[in-house]
Every structure is written in structure tokens, then in C-alpha cells.
């Protein structure tokens, strides 16, 4: 086994091109478990934790760039104006894990249970991938192609993820057996886009990959229209409509039975979390309106 430790992105991309079999490591919270248990013996490891280019948090003209090497601890401290992402970051592992784990790791591992992924889905984020040939932006709907599979080419590295700063309240919530160190049984992120009068919702841990719920999104935007809540945050949205929103979100889930929970429980959890998420978003707007 060989370990490459480049100190610049370009050097890392050259290693990646010459040794596509080298597994990238940043925080190590996924890969080290596999090494420690002898489940994986890669020919080579590419340490990307020393690349300054991956540590960037940038904001320009309403667009946010989050470097792939930014840890969850930094997201909590530095992206407090992104409540959905900050909430997801707070549910990751434990303090020790949040000091090491990175968004790039969630994207690279591409697990349907990656906590930051439903949030990036509702941000309609783009993944910035680079190789020695150049940089490309992969639209969110094309990035995750299956359980633990993404659209990255063998010679590419994940450099960053980008999105337009959302205008409206958002949240992330998940169900598990305790608050810390939990792989979600179900996770839901919701984001209101008040300028476009749209709702975006995404589900984690309840399908082969992260799932958006387009029917729920259209229905939710419609009930806010009918109740006048887009124009007037104090307008009441009927409780049965919120319940129906939850059911439609759950209908988009494609869950399985596994050691953490049954498909039926996961679907139920999605309905409850989605209904609560929309209720919280409406409450947030009401509070902000005073």
C-alpha cells in the first residue's frame, strides 16, 4: 500500500490521473473503519486533507461555494445562516466525528444515509469536480446514481459543492435510536423558496439514493397559494392539508426493511417529518413577520 500526500490540488489531480485506483481520504470517518476492520486493502491512498483549495467557504453574488474538505464543525460555526445545512451538520456523529468528517466525504461515499445530502438536494446544489483536464459542475439530479455510487469519473476529485443562497426557511430532521452517533432511519430536508413560491423536499435513508418528492412539492406550493400564505405569512394553512403534504412526501420514499427499521416505519417517519418540516417553515415565516 502506498500513501500519496500532495500539498496542492493540481499535484493531487496529477496523482489521481496516474493512480485512479488510489482511494481519497479526508476526515477518514468512513475509510478508516474499513481499513481498521480489514474490509478494504486499497493499493494506494490519496490524502486530500492537506489541500488548501478544499478548505474554502466562499460567497459571491448570492452563490455559496463550500469546499469539499470543510468539516461539519466548521459548517456549524460558519454557515449558521443556512439552518437546514447547519442542523444536518449538528446531527452528524459526535463532536470528535464532526471535527473530522467533511461534506466531500458524504458526496464521495454517496450513502443514502449521508446527513448533508438531503440538504444539498433541496439546495439544488452542483458538485464541482476537477481533473487535470479541467473543472466541471455536475447538476444534483445527475450526481447520485445509486447506493454508494456517484457520477465522478475515475480521474476526478470532488473539489466543492455550490448553490444559490436560499431565500426562505429550511430544516433538516432525522429519526434514529439516540441523538448522537446515529445512522438515520429516515431523514428529511425541506427548503422554502419564497421568491419563486416553491417548496423543495428531499428524503434520505429511505431509498437507494436521496429522493426528491415532486408531487409533495407541487401540492405544498399549491396549498400555500390557496391559503394566501405566500403573500401573508400569518395566513392559516389547514392542518389536513399539512397532513396530506406529509403523505405525498412519504409516497415518494422507496424504503426497504433492514437492521435499522422496516420499510413501513420509514414511510411513516417520512410523513411525520415532512409534515413537521412544513409546519416549522410556516412558523419561522410567521415569527419573522412579527
Amino acid at each position: 500500500m502506498e500513501v500519496f500526500r500532495p500539498s496542492s490540488l493540481y499535484e493531487a489531480l496529477e496523482v489521481r490521473a496516474a493512480h485512479p485506483q488510489a482511494i481519497p481520504i479526508a476526515g477518514g470517518t468512513d475509510l478508516m473503519v474499513e481499513l481498521n476492520f480489514g474490509r478494504r486493502r486499497p493499493e494506494a491512498i490519496l490524502d486530500v486533507s492537506r489541500l488548501p483549495e478544499l478548505q474554502v467557504i466562499g460567497r459571491e453574488d448570492g452563490r455559496v461555494t463550500l469546499g469539499a474538505g470543510v468539516t461539519y464543525a466548521r459548517i456549524i460555526r460558519e454557515l449558521a445562516d443556512h439552518p437546514a445545512l447547519a442542523q444536518a451538520a449538528r446531527t452528524v456523529g459526535s463532536p470528535q466525528i464532526r471535527n473530522r468528517g467533511t461534506v466531500g466525504g458524504n458526496l464521495g461515499t454517496a450513502s443514502p444515509a449521508g446527513d448533508s445530502l438531503p440538504v444539498l438536494a433541496v439546495y439544488d446544489a452542483e458538485v464541482v469536480a476537477a481533473s487535470t483536464a479541467g473543472t466541471r459542475r455536475i447538476p444534483w439530479r445527475e450526481f447520485l446514481v445509486g447506493p454508494k455510487r456517484n457520477a465522478l469519473a475515475p480521474d476526478e476529485l470532488i473539489v466543492a459543492v455550490e448553490w444559490r443562497q436560499p431565500d426562505g426557511p429550511g430544516s433538516f430532521s432525522k429519526v434514529g435510536t439516540r441523538n448522537a452517533m446515529v445512522i438515520a432511519i429516515a431523514g428529511v430536508s425541506l427548503q422554502l423558496d419564497t421568491a419563486a413560491r416553491r417548496i423543495r423536499i428531499a428524503l434520505g435513508s429511505v431509498g437507494p439514493t436521496i429522493l426528491r418528492a415532486p408531487e409533495a412539492e407541487a401540492f405544498g406550493a399549491g396549498i400555500l397559494d390557496e391559503s394566501g400564505a405566500w403573500a401573508d405569512p400569518r395566513a392559516e394553512v389547514p392542518a389536513d392539508a399539512l397532513g396530506r403534504f406529509g403523505e405525498l412526501a412519504a409516497a415518494a420514499a422507496r424504503p426497504i426493511d433492514d437492521i435499522r427499521g422496516t420499510a413501513a416505519y420509514r414511510r411513516h417517519a417520512c410523513a411525520v417529518l415532512a409534515r413537521r418540516a412544513l409546519t416549522w417553515a410556516l412558523d419561522d415565516r410567521r415569527l419573522a413577520a412579527g
Binding site: 477518514g28 486533507s49 459526535s94 470528535q96
Partner: protein, 157 residues
Amino acid sequence: MLVRLNVNGGWREAEVWPGASLLSMLRDDLGLWGTKNACEQGECGSCSVWLDGELVCSCLVLAAQADGRHVETIESLSHDGVLHPVQEAFLEAGAVQCGFCTPGFEVAVADLLRRDPHPSEETVREALSGNLCRCTGYEKILDAVRLAADRMDQVTP
């Protein structure tokens, strides 16, 4: 491969397997057995150390990643046989049962009190959520945190 790092103030080096964790280097190559090896998957916090001042599970750090960096272990807390106030508090509060989780907990508590000398109950629980005590002596551990916070408050105005 050769890994050289600063441990508790001194530069140390060892020839390690390229896939070795920082935890295995500390214990097997440098003889620092205070950092405990239990789950090897980041669940239990027994292997907690500081890496460049940040609390991490040393089992999840590749030793090669720590090359050239600063590591502080449980052994850094006491000096010339004088225990750190957190360690004194653990003894006094009866927060040590079998003792296996104790180094990881003490490092996590010392990390918390460095950042927040007067933590709320909720902050303490969240800060220790990555450490497991299978004797389940959590109440005494929480007592020890309060005791240590009071003591350290008196020494450092």
C-alpha cells in the same frame, strides 16, 4: 513508511504500515498506552486525542495524515505526577469504575472546559455524546465535570 509527529511536546518517529491509524502508532510504536483501543470505528471515543488542538478519534486518523502535526494524548494532562484538575475530579467524584473509558472521557472533558469553562448541562451532555462508558457510570462522570469546572474556575480567574 516513516511518520514523524510531535507528541506531547516532543518529536517522535516510527516506521508504520501505510494503512495504520494514529491510534495504533501511538500505542504499538510509541508505547503510549493511555489512549485506549476499543471499537476502532469512532463510536466509543476511548481513543480521543487532540490533533493540532482539535478533539478527534485517533482510530479514524491515518497515521500518515498526522505526519508533521501536533498530537496531545491523555499523558499530556498530568505533569511530574501532579494530576490535571479534570483527573482529580474524576477520582473524587467516583467517575472511574473499570477505568477503560476514563482517558477518552478526561480528554473530551478537558477539551470542553478549554473551550467553555462554564458549560450548561446540555452542552456537557452533547460534548460527551461521542464517549461511551459501558459500566454506565454517566451520572458520576457528569458530577466530575461540574466539580472540575468549579475547581478550574477558582485557579484561573
